[in-house]
Amino acid sequence: MHPGHHELHGITVVVETVGPVTYVARFDTADDRGVHLLNVATHERGAPGPTLDEFLARTRKFGVKAAQKYLLLPQEQVRSIRRLSEISQPS
């Protein structure tokens, strides 16, 4: 959609890390420093509050509650990247 950019540029993604934290954010780009994310919402497994499934369900219904404008996530921290739109809506 944006010639010359990463295929996920501008797409809202769910980034699972190797640790307890999952991010929902708009993907900007990826380079040798890591993955650059914009308007970032964060869920930490084990922290008080909603479970990850609840967090993702709320995000799908009400949108991304961004707490950070920008995050550079080192590549070795990334377990998976999926589009938010491809996360199943809970029944």
Binding site: M1, H2, G10, I11, T12, K61, F62, G63, V64, K65, A66, R83, L84, S85, Q89
Partner: protein, 147 residues
């Protein structure tokens, strides 16, 4: 930082020529939403080339394809008409801001919401089908939009 008006005028007109009324001030927004009745669409317009560039044509396709449609259609322009956009969003404050996005309201209550993430990377025809489903849902027709 808003873009120069000359740059965004075609993006405004892409909606207004569909019959969408632009709300450019807080007063414009309040005049419409302070005492809402019936069904309304609110298109949060955006300069974003990939998402908004697909969403505007999708609305045109949906209006061409569907007999069902809201009683009223409005737009605000995120990043351009800042106060009007913030005020419009205050009427659907449970939903996080994103642009482009489309809210579908009935008697002032959000019935369906198309977030930016639902628009990104999709063909306008796919999105048009979602908009038609939202129109039908607003009008109480059997095809539910919130799938």
């Amino acid at each position: 930082m808003p873009y120069h008006e000359i740059q965004v005028r075609p993006m405004r007109e892409e909606l207004t020529r569909l019959g969408v009324k632009e709300l450019r001030t807080v007063a414009d927004v309040d005049a419409v939403f302070a005492n809402p009745s019936g069904t309304q669409l609110v298109f949060v317009n955006s300069v974003c080339g990939c998402a908004a560039g697909g969403a505007r044509p999708a609305l045109a396709m949906a209006l061409a394809a569907s007999r069902a449609r809201p009683d009223e259609m409005y737009s605000v322009f995120a990043g351009q008409d800042l106060d009007a956009t913030a005020r419009a969003r205050s009427y659907f404050a449970d939903y996080e801001p994103s642009s482009p996005s489309i809210a579908f309201l009935k008697d002032g209550e959000v019935q369906h919401f198309i977030h930016r993430y639902m628009i990104e990377g999709r063909h306008p025809q796919q999105l048009a089908a979602d908009i038609v489903a939202a129109f039908e849902s607003l009008n109480g027709e059997p095809e539910a939009a919130n799938r």
